[in-house]
């Protein structure tokens, strides 16, 4: 297993190389948009434009730019943002915990709800709870999360003349109660879509596992019902659940951007969004690269967890 993990880690630099190439050259194709044009107004002279181009480092040939950028990144220098001339890493670093908390809360919630109701609805197949859970699962997968977030701030304002607080970030270490009050309701809403997908998957996997012989044997031996379901059946349904969990993190990136924009939270999502609309190349390049690394490591962790869940799994 260690060997497998090491071999997979060898792919990481390769994927990072491919991703950084794709990102860098997509932004600089002849048909791509020009940040200099974005930063100049009608009164900007050609000389001023050239000065801006030089300041951004976009005046050199693309290949030379690429090599320079690679060298800087390898030495830990991520460059400065175009729009405020600030170093990229501190800007990203101070926003990371905010987005991380949103993702963690939403993921925790969606997994708890999804797995709980998936198991319940598989154990009590065709009961009222099963029908309700399936009904909500179909809806949960169809309603866009931004609509749910919009409803979350619009509905209370109609019903109780109260608007949930929008904007402002309180660190969880300074005032945990206030922090959770701000973040939990939107994170719950954000997790609903994931919960629906998780519920459907858990239900179908559990139904399959519960039909197997060893479950009947376990019951025949007189093991308590809840133990059969949780320790025997659920344990063997975990592999697809963990796989889905891994892919849900990337799906939540989207939700997190929308969440941060609606609630004016200054996290990575909002930062990324603003950088895209203002053509802030250094930030875009770094964030694409960063999320690619996160995704690749996540996939690796998911693959490695299979052996922990099911000792029969062997890596070759």
């Amino acid at each position: 297993m260690r060997q497998y993990a090491l071999r997979r880690m060898l792919y990481l630099p390769l994927i990072i190389a491919v991703v950084s190439c794709l990102t860098f050259f997509t932004l600089r194709l002849p048909v791509s948009r020009d940040p200099v044009a974005y930063h100049s107004t009608q009164s900007t002279t050609v000389e001023q434009q050239e000065a801006i181009r030089k300041e951004f480092g976009l005046d050199k040939p693309v290949l030379q730019q690429f090599v320079t950028w690679l060298g800087e990144v390898a030495r830990g220098d991520l460059g400065k943002t175009f729009r405020s001339n600030q170093p990229v890493w501190p800007e990203v670093q101070r926003r990371l915990p905010i987005t991380f908390e949103i993702l963690a809360l939403a993921l925790t919630f969606s997994t708890l709800i999804g797995v709980t109701f998936g198991v319940l609805s598989a154990v009590k197949q065709n009961s009222l709870i099963d029908y309700c859970a399936r009904f909500f699962a179909v809806f949960g997968q169809s309603i866009p999360e931004f609509f749910l977030l919009v409803l979350l701030i619009v509905l209370p304002s109609i019903w109780w003349n109260y608007s949930p607080p929008v904007g402002g970030h309180v660190s969880i270490f300074e005032d945990p109660w206030e922090n959770l009050r701000l973040y939990v309701p939107p994170a719950v809403v954000l997790g609903l879509g994931g919960a629906a997908a998780m519920m459907r998957l858990t239900r179908s996997t559990m139904l399959e596992v519960l039909r197997q012989d060893y479950v009947r044997t376990a019951r025949a031996k007189g093991i308590a019902g809840h133990r059969v379901v949780l320790a025997h059946a659920l344990r063997n349904s975990l592999i697809p659940i963990v796989t889905l969990l891994g892919s849900q993190v990337t799906v939540l990136f989207f939700g997190s951007v929308i969440f941060e924009l609606i609630f004016s939270i200054n996290g990575i999502g909002q930062f990324f969004f603003v950088s895209v609309t203002t053509l802030d190349f250094p930030v875009i390049q770094f964030l694409v690269l960063y999320s690619a690394i996160v995704v690749v490591v996540l996939h690796l962790l998911v693959d490695l967890s299979y052996a922990v869940i099911d000792p029969r799994v062997r890596y070759n």
């Binding site: 991703v19 179909v138 309603i143 931004f146 919009v150 989207f254 895209v276 999320s291």
Partner: protein
């Protein structure tokens, strides 16, 4: 297959008369078994009709200022009320169907269609086609959908074309993955071996046996991708990255200024476009689920 006789020279083709009836009965049975799928299809067709005939159905021009008093609540004249400019929300929701459906279906059709073709080629011919596609698919899997959309929008600007391209690419790789697997299974099946033993050419086996048998899966794939494409399109429009501001689009009409007006009590401005998106995605998902139940033998119980 046996119904079509190779020597149908008697002038009166019985098979021709019988087959439509049998097909209609079979369709009826399928419909009865999948009421939710039928509901999805009907709603989806309803939205398609709205998209095509929108301008003739809508009571007002969606861009007409002061079609009514600004911020009027839902009434008989304006079923969904009016927005801050006095534009009729009902007419805007109807007009939004066209943009949403055109962008989403263009992305799904080109993306998933091309992906399916490539997947079939990779699954059947293997070798370098397969190798190339698998490696690019792996590189692509490192991009979460959002990151890909953002990168392409930064590079190529905020236009419907970019959105179609971006959503299409993600559909392309999922189409490629699904069809590659299915084609590989078909290509190794006994009947293909039999056809080869009978001396069919590779092209004939590919087109007449393999493609025909995985084609339904392409339709299943496309209908499943449609809901996701509509969701992605409306979310990007909500972020202001899709069509131009001011265009009647469900995502745009729920965002920015309209959202602040909604917080002040004009809920109808944002709630109705949201319901429209949810309904059309729900319909597409239900229809896609039903198609998958019918056509994907691996999931058949």
């Amino acid at each position: 297959m046996a119904a079509r006789s190779p020597v149908a020279t008697t002038g009166y083709d019985w098979t021709f008369r019988r087959r439509p009836q049998r097909r209609v009965r079979r369709l009826g049975r399928l419909a009865a078994e999948h009421p939710l799928g039928v509901f999805g299809l009907v709603v989806l067709m309803g939205f398609v009709i709205l998209g095509v005939l929108g301008p003739y159905i809508a009571p007002y021009d969606p861009r007409e200022l002061r079609a009514g008093q600004p911020f009027a609540g839902p009434s008989l004249d304006h079923p969904f009320g009016t927005n801050n400019l006095g534009q009729d929300v009902f007419s805007r929701v109807i007009a939004g169907a066209r943009i949403s459906l055109v962008i989403a279906s263009a992305a799904v059709f080109f993306g998933a269609g091309l992906g399916a073709l490539l997947g079939m080629a990779a699954g059947y011919y293997g070798r370098w086609v397969d190798y190339l596609l698998q490696r690019s698919s792996e590189a692509f899997s490192a991009f979460p959908a959002l990151v890909l959309y953002f990168l392409l929008i930064a590079a190529f600007g905020q236009s419907p074309k970019t959105i179609v391209f971006a959503i299409g690419i993600s559909a392309l790789f999922s189409g490629n993955r699904v069809l590659r697997g299915a084609t590989m299974i078909e290509a190794r099946s006994t009947y293909v071996e039999a056809a080869r033993a009978m001396g069919c050419s590779e092209t004939r086996i590919f087109l007449r046996h393999v493609v025909i048998n995985v084609l339904p899966l392409t339709v299943v794939l496309m209908s499943g991708a449609l809901g996701a494409a509509i969701l992605a399109e409306s979310a990007l429009a909500f972020l202001g990255l899709g069509v131009e501001p001011g265009t009647p689009s469900w995502g745009i009409d729920m965002s920015g200024q309209n959202l602040s007006f909604a917080r002040l009590g004009n809920w109808h401005i944002v709630v109705f476009p949201g319901i429209a998106i949810s309904l059309v995605v729900l319909a597409a998902n239900l229809f896609g689920d039903a198609l998958r139940d019918i056509w994907d033998p691996r999931l058949r119980k």
